[in-house]
Symmetry: C2
Subunit: 109 residues, 2 copies
DNA sequence: TTTAATACCTTGTATAACGATGTATTATTT
DNA sequence: AAATAATACATCGTTATACAAGGTATTAAA
Protein backbone atom coordinates (compact mmCIF):
# COMPACT_ATOMS: atom_id res chain seq x y z
CA UNK A 1 0.00 0.00 0.00
CA UNK A 2 1.52 3.24 -1.22
CA UNK A 3 5.02 1.93 -0.80
CA UNK A 4 6.35 4.20 -3.52
CA UNK A 5 4.85 7.17 -1.76
CA UNK A 6 6.36 6.18 1.58
CA UNK A 7 9.74 5.44 0.03
CA UNK A 8 9.79 8.84 -1.63
CA UNK A 9 8.66 10.44 1.61
CA UNK A 10 11.63 8.92 3.41
CA UNK A 11 13.92 10.37 0.74
CA UNK A 12 12.42 13.83 1.17
CA UNK A 13 12.77 13.57 4.92
CA UNK A 14 16.47 12.89 4.50
CA UNK A 15 16.94 16.19 2.71
CA UNK A 16 16.56 17.88 6.02
CA UNK A 17 18.08 15.33 8.31
CA UNK A 18 21.29 14.27 6.59
CA UNK A 19 23.32 17.40 7.38
CA UNK A 20 22.37 16.95 11.03
CA UNK A 21 23.32 13.26 10.92
CA UNK A 22 26.72 14.04 9.44
CA UNK A 23 27.52 16.90 11.81
CA UNK A 24 26.47 14.82 14.77
CA UNK A 25 28.57 11.85 13.64
CA UNK A 26 31.61 14.07 13.12
CA UNK A 27 31.14 15.64 16.53
CA UNK A 28 31.97 12.23 17.98
CA UNK A 29 34.97 11.49 15.82
CA UNK A 30 36.82 12.51 12.67
CA UNK A 31 35.83 10.45 9.66
CA UNK A 32 36.54 10.21 5.97
CA UNK A 33 33.64 10.05 3.54
CA UNK A 34 33.57 6.37 2.84
CA UNK A 35 33.89 5.66 6.55
CA UNK A 36 30.96 7.97 7.35
CA UNK A 37 28.68 5.87 5.19
CA UNK A 38 29.59 2.75 7.14
CA UNK A 39 29.56 4.60 10.45
CA UNK A 40 26.05 5.99 10.00
CA UNK A 41 24.85 2.59 8.82
CA UNK A 42 26.30 0.58 11.68
CA UNK A 43 25.73 3.09 14.46
CA UNK A 44 22.22 4.20 13.59
CA UNK A 45 20.98 2.19 10.62
CA UNK A 46 21.06 5.23 8.34
CA UNK A 47 21.65 4.48 4.65
CA UNK A 48 23.48 7.09 2.60
CA UNK A 49 24.88 6.51 -0.86
CA UNK A 50 28.21 7.80 -2.11
CA UNK A 51 26.43 10.07 -4.56
CA UNK A 52 24.88 11.77 -1.55
CA UNK A 53 27.68 11.91 0.98
CA UNK A 54 30.43 13.47 -1.15
CA UNK A 55 28.41 16.43 -2.45
CA UNK A 56 27.01 16.89 1.07
CA UNK A 57 30.49 17.05 2.60
CA UNK A 58 31.51 19.58 -0.04
CA UNK A 59 28.47 21.72 0.81
CA UNK A 60 29.22 21.62 4.52
CA UNK A 61 32.82 22.56 3.73
CA UNK A 62 31.69 25.59 1.73
CA UNK A 63 29.64 26.67 4.73
CA UNK A 64 32.79 26.24 6.83
CA UNK A 65 31.02 23.87 9.17
CA UNK A 66 33.74 21.30 8.54
CA UNK A 67 37.50 21.20 8.11
CA UNK A 68 39.39 18.49 6.28
CA UNK A 69 42.85 17.11 5.84
CA UNK A 70 44.27 14.55 3.46
CA UNK A 71 45.88 11.62 5.20
CA UNK A 72 48.25 9.42 3.22
CA UNK A 73 47.94 5.71 3.89
CA UNK A 74 50.81 3.18 4.11
CA UNK A 75 49.01 1.51 1.26
CA UNK A 76 46.02 2.41 -0.84
CA UNK A 77 44.23 5.65 -1.66
CA UNK A 78 44.71 8.70 0.61
CA UNK A 79 41.77 9.51 2.86
CA UNK A 80 40.11 12.88 3.27
CA UNK A 81 39.40 13.20 6.98
CA UNK A 82 36.67 15.62 8.01
CA UNK A 83 36.23 17.23 11.42
CA UNK A 84 33.60 19.60 12.72
CA UNK A 85 34.48 23.29 13.17
CA UNK A 86 33.42 25.64 15.97
CA UNK A 87 30.90 27.10 13.53
CA UNK A 88 29.69 23.57 12.80
CA UNK A 89 29.16 22.85 16.48
CA UNK A 90 27.11 26.00 16.85
CA UNK A 91 25.05 25.08 13.82
CA UNK A 92 24.48 21.58 15.11
CA UNK A 93 23.18 22.98 18.38
CA UNK A 94 20.80 25.27 16.50
CA UNK A 95 19.62 22.44 14.31
CA UNK A 96 18.87 20.19 17.26
CA UNK A 97 16.99 22.99 18.94
CA UNK A 98 15.00 23.63 15.78
CA UNK A 99 14.23 19.94 15.38
CA UNK A 100 12.98 19.77 18.95
CA UNK A 101 10.73 22.75 18.27
CA UNK A 102 9.42 21.04 15.16
CA UNK A 103 8.78 17.89 17.09
CA UNK A 104 6.70 19.81 19.60
CA UNK A 105 4.74 21.34 16.71
CA UNK A 106 3.80 17.88 15.53
CA UNK A 107 2.54 17.01 18.96
CA UNK A 108 0.30 20.08 18.90
CA UNK A 109 -1.56 18.90 15.83
CA UNK B 1 25.88 33.14 12.06
CA UNK B 2 25.06 30.93 9.14
CA UNK B 3 21.48 32.12 9.11
CA UNK B 4 21.11 31.45 5.41
CA UNK B 5 22.27 27.90 5.96
CA UNK B 6 19.84 27.35 8.82
CA UNK B 7 16.98 28.94 6.91
CA UNK B 8 17.62 26.71 3.94
CA UNK B 9 17.92 23.73 6.24
CA UNK B 10 14.47 24.44 7.66
CA UNK B 11 13.10 24.56 4.11
CA UNK B 12 14.64 21.19 3.28
CA UNK B 13 13.29 19.70 6.48
CA UNK B 14 9.80 20.74 5.45
CA UNK B 15 10.02 18.63 2.32
CA UNK B 16 9.58 15.59 4.47
CA UNK B 17 7.38 16.95 7.18
CA UNK B 18 4.70 18.91 5.33
CA UNK B 19 2.75 15.89 4.01
CA UNK B 20 2.64 14.56 7.56
CA UNK B 21 1.50 17.94 8.91
CA UNK B 22 -1.28 18.17 6.36
CA UNK B 23 -2.52 14.61 6.83
CA UNK B 24 -2.44 15.03 10.59
CA UNK B 25 -4.36 18.31 10.41
CA UNK B 26 -6.99 16.79 8.12
CA UNK B 27 -7.36 13.82 10.42
CA UNK B 28 -8.77 16.22 12.98
CA UNK B 29 -11.12 18.08 10.69
CA UNK B 30 -11.96 18.76 7.05
CA UNK B 31 -10.32 21.88 5.70
CA UNK B 32 -10.02 23.84 2.48
CA UNK B 33 -6.57 24.88 1.28
CA UNK B 34 -6.57 28.47 2.38
CA UNK B 35 -7.93 27.43 5.77
CA UNK B 36 -5.19 24.81 6.19
CA UNK B 37 -2.54 27.51 5.94
CA UNK B 38 -4.15 29.44 8.77
CA UNK B 39 -4.91 26.30 10.74
CA UNK B 40 -1.31 25.04 10.69
CA UNK B 41 -0.07 28.51 11.55
CA UNK B 42 -2.37 29.09 14.51
CA UNK B 43 -2.42 25.54 15.86
CA UNK B 44 1.26 24.72 15.58
CA UNK B 45 3.12 27.78 14.31
CA UNK B 46 3.87 26.12 10.99
CA UNK B 47 4.26 28.50 8.02
CA UNK B 48 3.23 27.25 4.60
CA UNK B 49 2.79 29.43 1.55
CA UNK B 50 0.02 29.08 -1.01
CA UNK B 51 2.57 28.08 -3.62
CA UNK B 52 3.34 25.10 -1.42
CA UNK B 53 -0.04 24.01 -0.10
CA UNK B 54 -1.99 23.77 -3.36
CA UNK B 55 0.51 21.60 -5.24
CA UNK B 56 0.90 19.50 -2.09
CA UNK B 57 -2.83 18.89 -1.83
CA UNK B 58 -2.92 17.93 -5.49
CA UNK B 59 -0.08 15.44 -4.91
CA UNK B 60 -1.84 13.88 -1.95
CA UNK B 61 -5.01 13.65 -4.04
CA UNK B 62 -3.16 11.82 -6.81
CA UNK B 63 -1.95 9.33 -4.20
CA UNK B 64 -5.57 8.97 -3.09
CA UNK B 65 -4.69 9.89 0.45
CA UNK B 66 -7.30 12.65 0.33
CA UNK B 67 -10.80 13.17 -1.00
CA UNK B 68 -12.30 16.55 -1.81
CA UNK B 69 -15.58 18.20 -2.50
CA UNK B 70 -16.48 21.67 -3.73
CA UNK B 71 -18.69 23.56 -1.33
CA UNK B 72 -20.56 26.59 -2.64
CA UNK B 73 -20.69 29.55 -0.29
CA UNK B 74 -23.68 31.90 0.27
CA UNK B 75 -21.24 34.57 -0.88
CA UNK B 76 -17.74 34.49 -2.28
CA UNK B 77 -15.61 31.89 -3.98
CA UNK B 78 -16.49 28.19 -3.59
CA UNK B 79 -14.24 26.22 -1.25
CA UNK B 80 -12.52 22.95 -1.99
CA UNK B 81 -12.84 20.90 1.19
CA UNK B 82 -10.33 18.11 1.71
CA UNK B 83 -10.75 15.09 3.98
CA UNK B 84 -8.41 12.22 4.72
CA UNK B 85 -9.12 8.80 3.17
CA UNK B 86 -8.72 5.37 4.72
CA UNK B 87 -5.54 5.02 2.70
CA UNK B 88 -4.43 8.38 4.02
CA UNK B 89 -4.96 7.31 7.61
CA UNK B 90 -2.88 4.20 7.04
CA UNK B 91 -0.13 6.26 5.46
CA UNK B 92 -0.17 8.73 8.31
CA UNK B 93 0.29 5.90 10.78
CA UNK B 94 3.23 4.56 8.80
CA UNK B 95 4.77 8.01 8.55
CA UNK B 96 4.54 8.60 12.27
CA UNK B 97 6.07 5.23 12.94
CA UNK B 98 8.88 5.96 10.51
CA UNK B 99 9.48 9.38 12.07
CA UNK B 100 9.70 7.81 15.51
CA UNK B 101 12.26 5.33 14.18
CA UNK B 102 14.24 8.18 12.67
CA UNK B 103 14.12 10.05 15.93
CA UNK B 104 15.57 7.06 17.73
CA UNK B 105 18.34 6.89 15.13
CA UNK B 106 19.32 10.45 15.95
CA UNK B 107 19.55 9.56 19.61
CA UNK B 108 21.91 6.71 18.75
CA UNK B 109 24.47 9.03 17.20
C1' DT C 1 42.87 -13.22 -13.84
C1' DT C 2 38.93 -11.66 -12.57
C1' DT C 3 36.13 -10.01 -8.95
C1' DA C 4 35.33 -7.43 -4.90
C1' DA C 5 36.40 -3.99 -1.63
C1' DT C 6 38.24 0.43 -0.64
C1' DA C 7 38.26 5.44 -1.62
C1' DC C 8 37.63 9.44 -4.14
C1' DC C 9 34.41 12.00 -7.44
C1' DT C 10 30.73 13.93 -11.16
C1' DT C 11 26.51 13.95 -13.95
C1' DG C 12 21.62 13.51 -14.98
C1' DT C 13 16.99 12.90 -13.14
C1' DA C 14 13.25 13.50 -10.07
C1' DT C 15 11.13 15.83 -6.28
C1' DA C 16 9.40 19.69 -3.76
C1' DA C 17 9.34 24.48 -1.16
C1' DC C 18 8.84 29.11 -2.32
C1' DG C 19 8.29 33.68 -4.36
C1' DA C 20 5.93 35.80 -7.94
C1' DT C 21 2.16 36.10 -10.56
C1' DG C 22 -2.64 35.44 -12.20
C1' DT C 23 -7.93 35.22 -11.65
C1' DA C 24 -12.13 36.28 -9.19
C1' DT C 25 -15.12 37.77 -5.30
C1' DT C 26 -16.24 40.42 -1.29
C1' DA C 27 -15.23 43.64 2.60
C1' DT C 28 -13.02 47.63 4.26
C1' DT C 29 -11.02 51.89 4.01
C1' DT C 30 -10.19 56.41 2.10
C1' DA D 1 -17.02 56.04 -5.83
C1' DA D 2 -12.39 54.21 -5.91
C1' DA D 3 -8.69 51.97 -4.08
C1' DT D 4 -6.97 48.57 -1.03
C1' DA D 5 -7.01 44.40 1.50
C1' DA D 6 -8.65 39.86 2.44
C1' DT D 7 -10.40 35.59 0.81
C1' DA D 8 -9.83 31.52 -2.25
C1' DC D 9 -8.31 29.09 -6.03
C1' DA D 10 -4.15 28.04 -9.10
C1' DT D 11 0.43 27.86 -12.01
C1' DC D 12 5.35 28.83 -13.23
C1' DG D 13 10.36 29.44 -12.71
C1' DT D 14 14.08 28.99 -9.54
C1' DT D 15 16.71 26.55 -6.37
C1' DA D 16 18.15 22.73 -3.48
C1' DT D 17 19.25 17.99 -2.90
C1' DA D 18 18.94 12.59 -2.69
C1' DC D 19 20.17 9.00 -5.61
C1' DA D 20 21.45 5.86 -9.36
C1' DA D 21 24.79 5.37 -12.58
C1' DG D 22 29.06 5.98 -14.11
C1' DG D 23 34.14 7.15 -13.77
C1' DT D 24 39.18 6.72 -11.75
C1' DA D 25 42.56 4.35 -8.95
C1' DT D 26 44.53 0.96 -5.55
C1' DT D 27 44.80 -3.39 -3.17
C1' DA D 28 43.13 -7.90 -1.51
C1' DA D 29 40.78 -12.19 -2.31
C1' DA D 30 38.82 -15.87 -5.24
Amino acid sequence: MKEDFLKNWDTQLKKGLLPLFVLQALRNKECYGYELIQELKSAAGIDISEGTIYPLLIRLMKEELLHYKWVEQPSGIPRKYYSISQEGKKCLTEMKKSLETTHSKIRKL
